[in-house]
């Protein structure tokens, strides 16, 4: 495939796809309406292209993406499960897609009821009574959670400046801690990949505002000491925050609220199958306990008791004096709520539990299958236990014995038409590969992935250079990321 041109390079002066509606009002010169000094001298140099070439340009570009509807996508921590096509249909209903966010709640009852029902479902799933749908993604939920913690403590006249996160934490956790104005304190992991309780006891003091945890954690392991952890954290008056990115492992089996978490965020674009869109949109609703509720973001979707025997009505409650305030404009990513609500309605209580059970079954089967194929010799599992919905392999022996790094393996997998697992995360595992198959994959797909990994290792035994120089069949091959960062070219010169 030849180097693709950008839409700006396709552009030819004078072409256009847009036809303006006729000017049905007086054609006054613009300068009469707006002082010339405030007007542009030159039009913005947007592309000039007719519809057929715009379509071809983006269709061709689209074919340079690997995607979930094309093949296996076991990207750990991202829960790349199938996105039901029904969800796009319901999100596109004019009553949803054409509804203005500032429409009077009286005339948006369907949307508010859907949000209210979704809040209820998420509360039941989290085991925590109160939900705000506002955050736009997981990290936004994290920020909300830490700001809620701050509001909670300040309301009690407490000043705390530390937040704890384990060394297995996802990068957004520490970043959130800093953004929210706290000092980060890292916790060590124990032999089993869980929190080192002694380290926790040592660090948990009155200055600690919160412990942010993922459970199962980013190793795909459920921390069996969770009750003790909660006890320790609560004893020092801190909050326990649940990073919901891994919720897909436990829905209907156990609930963060029952584990003692005070605040939970959901990634609707993971567990509840909002398509990822190549980097968003998503949504990161939060569920909280009673003591945190007063501080939830404004506005809240509420149900008002039926007036004079009629139907109950739904409204936006802005009157929340202790609220941390808004985290964004309007009511959140409603289009995402529609999809996730449709998903919860489609699966129901039983289906949701089956979803998690199958996710865990698929992960453990794939792990076993890889072992069968003798992969373990070069890619041992980091923690030799049953895993939950994902597991971590270490590429250290492979690097030592076969001279191919985890990165090389990943790039070689591209030539086999599968998306590589998450690589070099979590940080505490050397040459880590984080593998999450999800519940929507078939046994055949898992088998063939295991065969492919085994095949790449076999090939490397014979000739490591093939993997070292992979990929070979992709639209472009390894790219010079260093140069890109050193001399950034981040827009087209026109």
């Amino acid at each position: 495939m030849s180097d693709p041109r950008t839409i700006f390079e396709v552009s030819q002066e004078g072409r256009r796809a847009f036809t303006s509606p006729e000017t049905d009002v007086p054609e006054r010169p613009l300068e009469e309406l707006i002082p010339a000094a405030l007007l542009r001298d030159e039009p913005a140099r947007l592309p000039e292209v007719a519809e057929p070439e715009i379509v071809r340009h983006y269709v061709r570009l689209s074919n340079r993406n690997f995607h979930l509807d094309e093949g296996f996508y076991p990207l750990g921590s991202c829960t790349m499960k199938h996105n039901p096509k029904l969800h796009e249909r319901v999100a596109a209903l004019p009553g949803n897609s054409r509804l203005h966010p500032l429409q009077d709640p009286k005339r948006a009852q369907g949307a508010l009821e859907l949000m209210w029902r979704l809040q209820g479902s998420l509360a039941e799933i989290a085991g925590l009574p109160h939900v705000s749908l506002q955050p736009s993604a997981g990290s936004h939920g994290e920020l909300a959670g830490v700001l809620l913690t701050r509001a909670y403590h300040e309301d009690r006249g407490e000043r705390r400046h530390k937040v704890l996160t384990p060394d297995t934490a996802h990068g957004t956790n520490p970043a959130t801690v800093t953004m929210a104005g706290y000092d980060l304190v890292k916790l060590a992991s124990n032999q089993e990949g869980g929190i080192d309780l002694d380290d926790l006891r040592a660090k948990a003091d009155e200055d600690v505002a919160c412990l942010m945890l993922t459970n199962p954690n980013t190793l795909g392991l459920f921390d069996p000491n969770i009750e003790e952890i909660a006890r320790i954290v609560h004893d020092v008056g801190a909050t326990l925050y649940y990073d919901g990115a891994n919720l897909n492992a436990i829905v209907g089996v156990c609930r963060p609220g029952d584990m003692g978490f005070d605040i939970v965020h959901f990634n609707l674009h993971k567990t509840f199958t909002q398509p990822h869109g190549g980097g968003g949109p998503g949504a990161g609703p939060i569920a909280v306990s009673d003591r945190i509720e007063p501080y939830l973001p404004r506005p809240q979707v509420v149900r008002r008791a039926p007036q004079n025997g009629g139907e109950p009505t739904f409204d936006l409650d802005h009157d929340r004096p202790k609220s941390i305030g808004r985290l964004r404009g309007f009511q959140g990513n409603y289009g995402v709520f529609v999809r996730s609500y449709a998903y919860i309605r489609s699966l129901g209580a039983e289906g949701l539990r089956e979803m998690s059970e199958t996710a865990v079954l698929n992960a453990n089967y794939l792990l076993a299958r890889l072992r069968e194929k003798g992969v373990a010799e070069y890619l041992p599992v980091a923690y030799d236990r049953l895993c939950m919905h994902e597991f971590v392999l270490s590429g250290a022996p492979m690097k030592r014995d076969l001279k191919i790094k985890t990165l090389d393996l990943a790039k070689r997998l591209l030539d086999h038409g599968v998306h590589p697992p998450t690589v070099y995360f979590p940080l505490l595992v050397d040459e880590a590969l984080l593998i999450e198959p999800t519940e929507t994959e078939t046994k055949e797909t898992l088998d063939s992935f295991a065969d492919t990994v085994a095949e790449v290792l076999r090939e490397a035994r014979e000739d490591p250079t093939i993997a070292q120089t992979a990929p070979h069949t992709t639209p472009v091959r390894r790219l010079d990321e260093a140069a890109a960062a050193k001399r950034p070219v981040i827009r087209q010169p026109l």
């Binding site: 913005a44 203005h100 209907g252 584990m259 869109g277 209580a349 981040i490």
Partner: protein, 454 residues
């Protein structure tokens, strides 16, 4: 087995056997008894696709959408026509279903889109650096505040009252995290009071926040308003309506350091407020402090042109607590819609659209201001939105209009009305509004004891 899973009973048996356990239960052994749910979730049972569709259709039918009334609602999101090619491209699995492009070799489509988007936004704002999108408008304003703090270490924000209330509130919420002080500068005759603004700015001021056009639709003199902030070493941030930037002098030419805003007007649906995207553009000085993703051009080992995510200090990287932002999943698909829409409008279309809006808005403004009991809240130049003062309770007036299938705009306080236009509101629609609004105001003004329709 749901319709989305494929593990048959015989599959399950074989899989458990390979794992070496005798039940799925056994896989959850690590979960302590004490925290197990031990019951089914209290949720309704699953339903067939057609049943779920029917239920959501019923719910959606209970909303009054822009299809169901002649709507002049704006205030941050606008009912522009989204061309069909945007939907058909954005709905392609190739764009809809991949994750963030962590493997550039198989993500060139999405990465090049980001590069094209960054170029277009840079053109629109007149600033050299654009990221690949943030969540949406108001949180983009807040993100700019955080970047200013990283940039100059100061903790004082001076904010024009012309900035959208949602943006101001979001800024406050997040600024609370690092304890910044926020000073609000009032408007004078509908625009930011330049003198008062200069007054409020001091050498502790981290950033100055403006909006173009401002919340009341007035076009601000950005060049004048930027000056004092720049002199004081503060970061000048301006939230912009991207459609208005088609004809207005770009912030980058007016001394603005950071231009952010709500991207919805660029080819995104209303969706009751989201998902859309926020844009975030800045001067070279901020290149390495930008929040979110940025795509950059580079070459592969064969010298072929390609694109990668660059300048990342986020997520699975070291020094994570030093990240310039925590944003991870952003709004890539919505930004894609944005760049397709901008390509569809094109160089001349963007101007034609801006001119059409300005002219129809001028016509609407004059027509409505001519109604008894209706006057202009300010006489500043406007592009596509303007504020009115009614000699009647706005809530009641809006109800009367709604009863006739017209949504006259956004109520402001007791008697204010913010009216917005898009190319989808024709002169006939404006005349209709004038007729309906005129009668509604008359009725409420003379206080005739007529029932306000619910």
């Amino acid at each position: 087995m749901s319709r989305y899973t494929s593990v048959t009973d015989s599959d399950r048996a074989a899989m458990l056997d390979a794992i070496g356990v005798d039940s799925v239960e056994a896989l959850f052994a690590d979960i302590p008894e004490g925290v197990r749910l031990g019951r089914a979730l209290d949720l309704p049972p699953g339903a067939a696709e057609q049943e779920v569709f029917a239920e959501l259709r019923r719910l959606a039918a209970r909303n009054v959408s822009a299809d169901d009334e002649v709507s002049f609602l704006g205030g941050g999101m606008y009912d522009h026509y989204v061309p069909a090619l945007v939907d058909s491209i954005v709905q392609r699995s190739e764009f809809l279903t991949p994750y963030t492009p962590y493997q550039p070799e198989i993500s060139q489509g999405g990465l090049q889109v980001m590069f094209e988007y960054q170029t277009a936004m840079s053109e629109l704002t007149g600033l050299p650096v654009s990221n690949a999108s943030v969540y949406e408008g108001p949180s983009a304003v807040a993100a700019a505040g955080y970047m200013a703090k990283l940039h100059n270490g100061r903790r004082r924000f001076v904010v024009s009252e012309g900035v959208h209330p949602h943006s101001r509130e979001t800024l406050e919420t997040t600024a609370a995290g690092w304890g910044a002080e926020i000073v609000t500068v009032a408007l004078r005759d509908g625009a930011t009071d330049a003198a008062a603004l200069a007054e409020a700015i001091d050498e502790d001021t981290s950033a100055v926040f403006l909006q173009q056009p401002n919340f009341l639709g007035a076009v601000e003199d950005l060049t004048a308003l930027s000056a004092p902030g720049r002199e004081a070493g503060a970061v000048v941030v301006c939230a912009c309506d991207p459609i208005a930037l088609g004809i207005l002098r770009p912030p980058g030419e007016c001394g603005v350091d950071v231009a952010v805003g709500e991207g919805q007007p660029l080819g995104n649906r209303l969706d009751f407020g989201g998902p859309s995207f926020g844009f975030f553009c800045a001067g070279e000085a901020f290149l390495r402090k930008m929040p979110g993703r940025i795509a950059g051009e580079t070459r592969d080992v064969d010298g072929k042109r390609g694109f990668v995510l660059t300048l990342q200090t986020r997520e699975q990287h070291i020094r994570r607590e030093r990240a310039t932002s925590n944003i991870c999943t952003a709004q890539a698909l919505n930004a894609l819609a944005g760049v397709i829409y901008m390509s569809w409008l094109g160089r001349r279309g963007l101007v034609e659209l801006g001119e059409l809006l300005a002219r129809r808005t001028a016509y609407a403004r004059e027509t409505l201001a001519g109604l008894p009991g209706v006057s202009l809240a300010h006489e500043r130049p406007v592009v596509r939105e303007f504020a009115l003062t009614l000699d009647a309770p706005v809530a009641a007036v809006v109800e009367r209009c709604a009863a006739e299938g017209v949504n006259p705009g956004l109520p402001l306080g007791e008697d204010g009305l913010l009216v917005a236009l898009t190319e989808q509101r024709s002169r006939a629609d404006i005349d209709r509004l004038a007729d309906v609004l005129g009668r509604a105001v008359a009725a409420e003004r003379t206080g005739v004891a007529t029932e306000v329709p619910a």
